[in-house]
């Protein structure tokens, strides 16, 4: 399967839009948590020492945009930007504007939720949005290629980091990391699944090492042929679907899969 630049960017856009829409509607659906008394209310979050130790002008600025009402307006604006990404023709100024708004709001989301730790999916989405934003500023062949390389290298780095950090962890190194995860009811709240993986220790050890191997070896796709690439992409897809159903982290799937078209394009060149 060969992808043109337009098709590659179109596919990345599509998955990105799905992620942003799910994320935005999820946030709107828990609107109450952003009001006074909620765990995500600004009246609570602003008490975090990260904010209280900042300059007064900085605090005045965030006090304007982070309370529930303006914040929900920004979340709604993300949804409109998604519509902009879907309908605007390639290289139109609307595209750049939408990416810029999505990038700024995504960055502010990280800042606002610092007290509990920025959401992993959102952090990763900024990598993609940032690259596409820079590309939209100057959509030449050189910049487009650089942006796609950047996305491809970032996804390789994300898997490699995950693999290496698993190797640094004793449980994973001993082959028990996956077992601890899959048998934890807090992470996978399905008793049948917990019991199944508790029972088949050999299988959990094989999966444990397959995950580490997949993550550590992922950058190989950049230097190998289409067979290796597609094997890794299929394995990655399966891994993310399993994560989505098992751990209920569906947004991981959309945002990580969004980078795959960039990999396909880079490798086919």
């Amino acid at each position: 399967m060969n992808l043109s630049i337009a098709q590659t960017l179109g596919l990345i856009n599509l998955f990105l839009v799905i992620y942003v829409l799910i994320d935005s509607f999820e946030k709107i659906s828990i609107y109450k948590e952003y009001l006074a008394g909620g765990l995500l209310s600004w009246s609570l979050l602003r008490k975090n020492s990260f904010f209280t130790s900042r300059s007064e002008s900085f605090r005045n600025f965030i006090d304007i945009i982070f309370p529930a009402r303006p914040w929900m307006f920004l979340i709604a604006l993300r949804i409109f930007c998604c519509a902009g990404l879907l309908v605007s023709p390639p290289d139109s100024p609307l595209l750049g504007f939408s990416y810029a708004v999505l990038f700024i709001i995504g960055a502010l989301m990280n800042l606002r939720s610092l007290a509990y730790g920025a959401e992993t999916e959102n952090r990763f989405s900024l990598v993609i949005i940032g690259a596409l934003l820079l590309r939209s500023l100057l959509p030449t062949d050189v910049v487009t290629l650089a942006a796609l390389w950047f996305i491809a290298l970032q996804v390789c780095l994300s898997y490699l980091t995950a693999g290496v950090s698993k190797l640094r962890n004793v449980s994973w190194r001993q082959g028990n990391g996956f077992k601890y995860v899959a048998t934890s009811y807090e992470l996978v709240p399905v008793k049948k699944v917990n019991i199944f993986f508790e029972k088949y220790t050999g299988l959990t050890q094989v999966i444990n090492w397959l995950i580490i191997l997949f993550e550590c070896a992922f950058p190989v796709v950049l230097f190998s042929g289409p067979v290796v690439l597609w094997s890794f992409l299929v394995a990655g897809g399966i891994l993310h679907i399993a994560i989505a159903f098992g751990f209920r982290l569906g947004k991981f799937f959309w945002i990580w899969i969004a980078t795959y078209p960039a990999l396909i394009f880079i490798v086919q060149r």
């Binding site: 008394g37 952090r123 698993k166 009811y185 569906g250």
Partner: protein, 165 residues
Amino acid sequence: MSIWEIIIVLTLAIWLTANICYSFLNKRMAHYTYRADIFRLLSAFQLFSRKVESFHLSYRDMLADQAVTQWEPVPLNQQWKSYHAIWFPARTVDTCVISIMDDLVRIVKKDQSGFGRKRIKERFIYHALSHFLERYPQSESCLGRQFRIQDKENNEVFISDFYKE
């Protein structure tokens, strides 16, 4: 290449290099990036690498006659549904509470005495957890609420004082 092309390519290259450094020198760099990278543009994706420790949260109230109620467990894990793979907004709050508990336990384990450190009661996470528990009903005559965190084996890891918001 035009000057603008060079600037954009350089920006991407610097961002990628910084991310590579952050990924592998995470602990050393986090000290600096915590305050400098306020938008968290640098990330180290260590998906499920840490050993999973599960904690249980519960609370009880002190009534007007000084009697205390039974410990009430706080459910933080909703029943699994297949559509949660696509749509699961409740995860946000559960994840926040679990993250707070993890941080609190980490601090408690690090420093039992609190001597020379910011007292746990003065920390944001302590305040956030007590704030979160306010959503559970309590009688008007309640003098205060107390919460505790237990590990998987039901050992008490942390117990708060009675407090009134």
